[in-house]
Symmetry: C2
Subunit: 227 residues, 2 copies
DNA sequence: GCAGAAACGAGAGCGGTGCTCTCGAAACGG
DNA sequence: CCGTTTCGAGAGCACCGCTCTCGTTTCTGC
């Protein structure tokens, strides 16, 4: 998909139409859900032949991929913006900001949330284009964790736990002990667990106010994992 | 769907065929995923006309519902069996048994797990038939929690947290304090978060051995929430 | 400035889906 | 035994993703 920055007329209308298709897809996503996203319906809405869509996206999966990347970028931008407004030394505040912003974004964009953090579409294998934007959010969390452990430096951990978390421990240059990293991953999982349970309807007859529950949990987690 | 217990020939072959359809559906579910489950493919596999399926299930959604109920019952049976083999007083052991059995079941039956704990099918609203079997698993966990707080009895909690958790606190007759209940819900969310992250591919380049990580977390949670 | 190349939109068509309707055969029950 | 109900099969409808062709429009190199 070569897009010249300000090339001829053709390149411009191509960029515009690509954006219009994505916009229509997002609109349809919001009302129908990901798995029933229909290229033909998008084409109908845009007043063009269904086959014309294929000039812009080679397949339905490629459109989905584009939407997934956009969603990752969008949530990452929100979270980074919220986190950057906290006092640098206030690690717990930064963690809570990350967690609560993630939930707010999920509540505001349930279908995009489901798209990136829900059940993967069956035959769909995430292309490599998606892994980069997907890492932005966890990296902001890891940064807070590393900065709160700034004075420590440890050797590679040879324990079972240390080996199980080898990849992420290497990623942080072993500046975070394995058990502290495990606590952080637990918190990370808890955040998604709470959001998933709320969004996918498993809090019925149990938690009446998910927002209060989530804020309580976020503060509880911050105390638990950050010194 | 009236099914006479041992009625005429017709009732028996109807029950058998219903089971065969579900079996074929489950087989297809394991290889294709829920959203691409095809009634026509099932009919083909069973050597019957696609329209004949509708004598047994009024729609694709109804078949899905039947599979969902079966999955809930199956996971609940596994968890109850594992939990019942623990010493009654060993609350932490019972909790760990519940958690690890849930994960084992999810790893062994990824598509049924996704069916009941993943993103809901877009237009699909869980019929009332599913809520009953869905509660069996959380109830086993709540039972452990309540039994570990057996000596305490408290009044309705009027705090924000107490009100946010009102439904489940009432369900347990206020025998568990609100903050302890919140910790338990946090653990509950963490369990699903860990399983989701693992199953849906978000542990790539981070956690190399999800099993070790999960067992570590399960024990950590047990210490955290149970006295 | 113009001819060849590339990009584009529309339309027809293929095989697939869920679902409905009709029709003849089979099993049931009085 | 005969009327009623249940069942399987087939045709058909509207939709889907996707491919191919064909005439038109835009770009590009000479």
């Amino acid at each position: 998909m070569p897009e010249k920055p300000a090339g001829g007329v053709r390149a411009r209308v191509r960029a515009e139409l690509t954006a219009e298709i994505k916009a229509a897809a997002r609109r349809q996503l919001a009302t129908e859900g990901a798995s029933s996203l229909s290229l033909r319906a998008i084409a109908r809405e845009l007043g063009m032949a269904s086959s014309a869509i294929y000039r812009y996206f080679a397949s339905r999966d490629e459109l989905l991929t584009a939407l997934i990347i956009d969603a990752y970028e969008d949530v990452a931008s929100h979270i980074e913006a919220a986190e950057s407004q906290c006092e640098r030394a206030d690690h717990r505040g930064r963690f809570v900001a990350i967690a609560t912003t993630l939930r707010s974004w999920a509540v505001a964009n349930p279908n995009e949330y489901a798209l990136i953090y829900g059940t993967p579409v069956p035959g769909y294998a995430a292309p490599t284009d998606t892994i980069d934007p997907a890492t932005r959010v966890p990296i902001t969390l890891l940064t807070v964790l590393v900065e709160s452990h700034v004075s420590e430096t440890s050797e590679p951990d040879e324990s079972d736990l240390g080996q199980a978390l080898a990849d992420v421990l290497v990623f942080t240059n072993h500046s975070v002990p394995a058990d502290a990293m495990a606590l952080a991953i637990e918190a990370w999982a808890e955040i998604f667990g709470l959001i998933n349970l709320e969004m996918f309807g498993h809090f019925k007859n149990a938690v009446t106010n998910p927002s209060v529950m989530f804020n309580h949990a976020a503060n509880s987690m911050a105390e638990r994992i950050l010194p």
